[in-house]
């Protein structure tokens, strides 16, 4: 049977992708941030999953204002990198896992989550920057990836409570898939940031770190936090953090923190990164 072996969270700032693509990670501005991922890249090679369920948001790339699905699961064979206005990132095409995606889509919909099934989709920096951070520059990504896109662009996104419950539903789905697979769930986006208006540049480190503490030890309580607190305390784009709760819901009640990193700032954004494993 398939099993969930670990959860990862990370911010997915586009400038991080550009920095990796242009070989500028050693520059003084960037080096301290990339240092926070050195352990993780080594750990990942030793704990390589067969499949990553990668929770992210599309930034008006695959989904325009014509259709805005709240939760969309990528069921395709592969997903090309999107052209976000400066040409596609020079990164490998993402290989999906259509059989597991179909199983999850059917299973969680039958658990009352009405996912949108997507059979053709490009993927933007929200999905490819986390892959670059954890796998580096690669000629092919080392595992399969199932994109799970969450609307956090058009307000309101799904509630934290709903995201946390979706994570639990995904865990049940994975654990009933017959093939013997190691599966990780990644939650991306955040942390505090605001990309618009005179309040742009907002960073709230105490709030971010309290969020991480509660994500680890009190996810049930954290899941009750309303949207307005994210907007007010972590910025209009900080609301992306609800996606981390999907990752957390997919793990066990008790988790062990394998790695924890926080850094201000990458471009406009506070970077947070975690590796969590189910406690033995």
């Amino acid at each position: 049977m398939a099993r969930i072996t670990a959860g990862v969270t990370t911010s997915h700032v586009p400038a991080i992708g550009a920095t990796i693509d242009h070989g500028r990670t050693a520059e003084p501005y960037w080096a301290p941030m990339f240092a926070g991922y050195e352990f993780s890249k080594r750990w990942m090679t030793e704990h390589m999953p067969d499949v990553v369920i990668l929770v992210y948001n599309d930034h008006a790339s695959a989904f325009s204002l014509d259709i805005v699905p709240t939760f969309a699961i990528g069921c395709a064979e592969s997903f090309p990198p999107a052209d976000e206005g400066w040409g596609p990132r020079p990164v490998p095409v993402v290989q999906g896992h259509p059989a597991l995606a179909a199983h999850i889509a059917q299973s969680v919909t039958q658990q009352d989550f009405d996912l949108t099934f997507v059979y053709k989709m490009s993927v933007d920096h929200g999905l490819t920057v986390p892959l670059s951070l954890l796998f580096g520059q690669a000629s092919a990504w080392p595992c399969r990836v199932i994109p799970l896109a969450v609307n956090v662009v058009l307000y309101p996104p799904p509630s934290g409570r709903r995201c946390y419950a979706l994570g639990k539903a995904i865990r049940r789905a994975v654990e009933t898939f017959d093939e013997d697979l190691d599966v990780q769930v990644w939650g991306t986006g955040g942390m505090s940031h605001q990309l618009q208006g005179p309040r742009a540049g907002l960073i709230n480190s105490p709030w971010d770190n309290a969020f991480i503490d509660r994500l680890i030890d009190d996810p049930d309580g954290l899941a009750q936090v309303p949207h307005i607190e994210y907007v007010r305390e972590a910025g209009s784009e900080g609301i992306e953090l609800v996606m981390w709760l999907i990752m957390r819901g997919a793990l066990a009640e008790k988790v062990t923190t394998t790695h924890r990193f926080y850094h201000v700032a990458a471009s406009n954004t506070a970077v947070g990164h975690l590796i969590l494993e189910n406690s033995k």
Binding site: A82, L154, Q194, Q196, R199, A200, G201, I203, I228
Partner: protein
Amino acid sequence: MSLEKPYADVPGTTIFDADQARKGYHLNQFCMSLMSAENRTRFKANERAYVDEWPMSEEQKEALLARDYNRLIELGGNIYFLAKVFSTDGLSYLQAVSTMTGMSVEQYRNMMIEGGRSIEGNRYVGEKQ
């Protein structure tokens, strides 16, 4: 009954909700068109002619030509859509976002390096700075 907007008292912030999305539909879809290299070339060759192909308001068109991002947000634009415009201009998020803050790019970048804009005094409209 109108939409409940508990975020209306967050200072310097416009939440891209269903009302804004309705106002900004054509503006944002114009932005999406710049995801193709061919359209970027046509836009750069004659911006006014290109924006006139879209059923936007004159205010939206003028704000676009002026790259007035605060105004574009107010008129229903969303930053992730508008990113296609500033990417076409060769600007990063940081460079474009800084133009909405009344700071120079350099001042804004330094603020971010020093820890970003503080939350203190920035939670509610009318709070003392």
